[in-house]
Assembly symmetry: C2
Homo-oligomer: 295 residues x 2
Amino acid sequence: MTSGGPGLGILAGGGQMPVAVASAALRKGRSVHIVAIRGEADGAIEAFPHTWIGWGEIGRILKALDSHDCRELVIIGSVKRPDLNKIRFDLGALWNLPRLIGITIGGDDSVLARVVRFFESKGYTVRGAHEIADELVIQDGLAGQHKPSGDSKHDIRKAFEVVNALGVHDIGQAAVVVGGHVLAVEAAEGTDEMLKRCAKLSQWGRGRTKKRMGVLVKTPKPNQEIRVDMPTIGPRTISLAAEAGLAGIALKGGNVLIADRESTVRLADEMGLFIVAVPGDGDVRSSKEFRVSSG
Amino acid sequence: MTSGGPGLGILAGGGQMPVAVASAALRKGRSVHIVAIRGEADGAIEAFPHTWIGWGEIGRILKALDSHDCRELVIIGSVKRPDLNKIRFDLGALWNLPRLIGITIGGDDSVLARVVRFFESKGYTVRGAHEIADELVIQDGLAGQHKPSGDSKHDIRKAFEVVNALGVHDIGQAAVVVGGHVLAVEAAEGTDEMLKRCAKLSQWGRGRTKKRMGVLVKTPKPNQEIRVDMPTIGPRTISLAAEAGLAGIALKGGNVLIADRESTVRLADEMGLFIVAVPGDGDVRSSKEFRVSSG
């Protein structure tokens, strides 16, 4: 489970993606070391070589990476907004204080883009999870056994129009459209919260029908730092979409990660939801796999 | 409290607007008759000549209007989505069944636009509340004593850009922007729900500051049937915006109703929120009152 090449560092937030990336890297013969953020990362990362660190322990992060010969770094997993008053900074943080202040307060670009620049300025190469393990990224076409109906294709097209229209304003990673009507648009609340809201509104626009209707569309924002902030779906996305009564989920192919692909697709199959990835602009007509409506 | 002219019918949903319109019409010397939807309209409408009706009692609505000589009609107030299984239709509904089915299921335009056409086809003239009582509509400029800061003006401009970008998709009546970041976009959930969500996200984007930051912008959608569906704010909008930590509220001048203006403005003044209406496209620079930052 080790390799000749330099080690891969994984700075791990919450969820299943850090473990998925570590497993994929090991399968490819790379050595890995997970630097896990306390209070964020899942205990499952302890199955791999790892170091637990707290927010603000910048010195320990750099030391853990260096002592395990990690010159490449994947930053992945969800993070809650840390309580600034509770962060304890170590000496390494003090040495880097000017840059850290720049990360926290400065600029028009995202905090994550500045985190990437910080590690790059320290000589690390920051890789996207998809560069390490492209099997984690959804590719164009159907991921499960269910297919979008004609109505769902209309909803998909409309939802992509909405998120694309919003992209220039640095929002619009996701939207829900039901029967041609925009039920919800995601801004800062996150996809899970948006889907919970849709479950409460699920009577909306569907009249008396009990059948699944409507779609969740998810795609990166135009300026999203895709190396460290690629949109992700997983089993929870499927169950929340099902509770909202949706018919399925459409993603921008090559641009969305699936955490725990096997469970995610199996759950979608069981619950009757489709998962489809469409090319580039979300125009479902240009997707060959998508156009095929049988077989 | 009566007049020579024809009576004004008010088809009343929930909230304070039906009473506000009735009072304004009486002040102008018109006679009024409120047709109040049971389960929706507030008991306060009983201070005026009125008839309670249930969803589906179309015959009784038309009879109440005709027997009080109401050829003009204002349709106003909030409505919950009625439970179709519980509606009891009267004979008048049966006579109009083909048209009612058209209202419920048909077309690309809104249900309300079709409701208007229904009453127009019966020979009524449907008026907007603002045509009866323009004092209920906010006009360009400041409504209270507080003024937007420079930062708030940036947030206002950004929020108008967002809602205008969404307008073509028949959503985007409202958005919340804090420190240049889009915190929330309203789709089907309504402004109150969006503001409650913002209260939960209120740490977002504001770092350690406790001071009020960010704005709610509210404006009609491009194709909104403004006679029957003008955006409305009231005291509740102010208290929810305050709980979300916002600095104020910006509206499209001449296009948003204020329910209970006195209480609304007083509450905003007390809680330190501004209320400002800006012209047309939401470009705050073109508003004279808005440009003035003192006095």
